[in-house]
């Protein structure tokens, strides 16, 4: 006979883990884009939202969740590359503020286009038939879709790690994060890599959006809401660090989930307390490079 409180802790831990995985897919793109392009992409949350809606449309058109899971990130990633190529690239020689402000403009643009096409209501996205049930683990009943999200997210994280640490492309990206100018000096077409990384980050955000769909539904403001969490993850983990974005995501995912379950009155505050503590004790974040 399992102890109820332990079952509850276990269920919350898994909830927090599935949420953390979503945050990881978002923050890893944000942190890579920042590391390479020196741009804090405020429209990153919008790519997440666009991913959810693209998923919604593709599921409505084809009835196939798995197709949407693959196609939506490709579409949104292409859009991200277009944004980088046409609007961000002319701004690289300007102060970094201009680039941040440009991405802020895109938030309004994307959010309103989504409202135009789909309306402002919350739209629920059905979970795939394969994972529509629930499983009982250690006395806790958990939607099987959550288990899928965790396994899928961790798999993507492992694949990302292999891509970045073990391939030639990955070493170019790491070099670019470290020193883009020097990488260009070595004969790498950094501009093409910039476009690719921006699009790849957008695609990961969209992937996160599609996966989040069945859990949180789709609504136009979801992008601006998740962006704040993502920024906190990156501040906690350290800007430009992959390890940091994984650690930050898992910490913030657990903190917010347990906060909601156990301290509902102050739940929204907890993540800010975590952030303030990290900033006080380690301004560069858990895995960030020391600040000058």
């Amino acid at each position: 006979m399992p102890v109820p409180i332990l079952a509850d802790v276990f269920a919350q831990t898994l909830n927090g883990l599935s949420y953390g995985v979503l945050l990881f897919l978002l923050s890893v793109g944000l942190t890579l884009i920042f590391g390479m392009l020196d741009v804090v992409n405020l429209a990153h949350g919008s790519f997440y939202m666009l991913g959810a809606y693209a998923g919604l449309a593709l599921i409505a058109a084809t009835g196939n969740f798995w197709l949407a899971l693959i196609a939506a990130p490709i579409v949104v990633g292409g859009l991200g590359m277009l944004v980088e190529r046409t609007c961000l690239r002319p701004l690289y020689r300007r102060p970094p503020l201009d680039q941040i402000l440009l991405t802020f403009g895109f938030i309004y643009l994307f959010e309103d286009v989504v409202k135009w096409i789909w309306g402002g209501r919350i739209r629920s996205i059905p979970s795939p038939a394969l994972f529509s049930g629930s499983v009982t683990l250690f006395g806790a009943t958990i939607p099987s879709y959550r288990v899928f999200v965790i396994v899928f997210g961790l798999t993507v994280a492992a694949a990302l790690w292999a891509l970045i640490e073990r391939t030639r492309l990955g070493s170019i990206i790491r070099a670019g994060v470290f020193d883009a100018e020097m990488t260009a000096g070595l004969g790498i077409n950094v501009h093409r890599v910039f476009t690719g990384v921006f699009g790849f980050g957008a695609a990961l955000a969209a992937l996160s959006g599609v996966i989040a769909g069945p859990i949180q539904s789709a609504y136009p403001a979801m992008g601006t809401e998740i962006l704040v969490r993502t920024l906190i993850v990156v501040v906690v983990g350290g800007l430009g660090s992959l390890k940091g974005s994984l650690a930050g995501s898992l910490i913030i995912g657990q903190a917010e989930t347990f906060g909601k379950a156990w301290l509902p009155d102050t739940a929204m505050l907890i993540i800010y307390v975590v952030m303030a503590l990290v900033v006080l004790l380690r301004p560069q974040g858990l895995f960030g490079r020391p600040l000058k």
């Binding site: 402000l101 403009g105 643009l109 739940a267 800010y272 900033v279």
Partner: protein, 324 residues
């Protein structure tokens, strides 16, 4: 210099007299412009003069608004309407600034943004603050024996405050203190090396900007009679940044012009179409890409070209003559 003073006086008088020639709706729009103008000017002190881009300025706007709402419900006077909001915003700006100034650049942007969201989270959840509905039915104060519930009195009060705060901020940026801030904007490391306590200067600028933003928030509550957590949401900071950029950073006047352009565009566009946000986003993108100096910067550039034109034309004529 005197031309500038005269122009300023003329603008203020025109703003004050506006209700005698315009209907209710344009007056309400103008009053919104005045309040957002104050808010945007306070942000310009930070980003335009000191080079500190804060994405969390809404924290002080919202705080001023909430403190004014709570205090005015107790006793509607000058203390509740202006002094307490400004003081509370200054105090919180001291704490938030102390924590945020430890980092700079994009970290500063993200930290300030996160702090403002913290206030959003608190006001959104606390039932005693009305949770997501905010605080409604806030009365306007009586100040110096004048009841600001009257439309004319309230309008003059807003214009007078805009004028006072504009002069105050103008004096600040022209003062030796203001020149140190500009120096920090130009080259922080050099100012540090010359021996200025850069952090203390930045913190003081942050506190001044925060308390002025608090006054703007208090006025916002008084204009509408309510305040809600939306005032704290980070897009409020983004809109203020937008106004400063559209108007032209580092000019103060540009901030007010930007607020006017933003609010007029919003009201104009929303009478024709629901797609206000789309047009806002595109306008913003176009400004960042093609007119980074904003309205004031573009006008100055145009004036310079116009002044240079006869000279250049003369030079061209002479060159042609020489060739012939």
């Amino acid at each position: 210099m005197t031309a500038r003073v005269v122009a300023f006086a003329v603008v203020i008088v025109a703003l004050a007299l506006f209700p005698s020639v315009a209907g209710n709706y344009p007056v309400k729009l103008l009053q919104e412009i005045l309040i957002w103008g104050v808010f945007a000017m306070s942000l310009d002190l930070l980003m335009g003069f000191t080079g500190m881009v804060s994405f969390g300025h809404s924290a002080f706007f919202g705080l001023g608004g909430y403190v004014a709402a709570l205090a005015l419900l107790q006793s509607p006077g000058a203390l509740a309407g202006l002094v307490l909001p400004a003081a509370a915003a200054a105090l919180v700006a001291l704490v938030v600034g102390f924590l945020s100034i430890r980092v700079s650049g994009v970290y500063f942007i993200m930290l300030t943004l996160a702090f403002s969201q913290m206030f959003f989270a608190v006001t959104f959840q606390v039932q005693r603050l009305g949770a997501e509905d905010g605080i409604v039915g806030v009365p306007r104060p009586r100040i110096l024996g004048v009841d600001l519930a009257g439309a004319t009195a309230f309008h003059l009060y807003l214009v007078a405050l805009l004028a006072l705060l504009a002069i105050l901020l103008w004096r600040i940026v022209q003062s030796p203190f203001g020149h140190v801030l500009r120096g920090i904007h130009e080259n922080e490391a050099r100012m540090e090396a010359v021996g200025y306590p850069v952090r203390r200067y930045k913190l003081l600028a942050f506190v001044i900007a925060g308390s002025v933003a608090g006054i703007a928030g208090a006025l916002y509550t008084q204009l509408n009679g309510y305040i809600s957590p939306d005032a704290f949401f980070w897009t409020t900071s983004g809109e203020a940044l937008l106004m400063v950029i559209i108007g032209g950073t580092g000019t103060l006047a540009g901030a007010v012009l930007g607020a006017a352009a933003f609010i007029l565009l919003q009201s104009l566009v929303s009478t024709y179409t629901e797609r206000w946000m789309l047009i806002l986003g595109v306008t913003f993108i176009v400004f960042v890409l093609f007119a980074p100096g904003g309205i004031v910067g573009t006008m100055r550039g145009a004036a310079r070209t116009a002044r240079a034109w006869p000279r250049r034309a003369g030079a061209a004529r002479r060159a042609l003559r020489r060739q012939a």
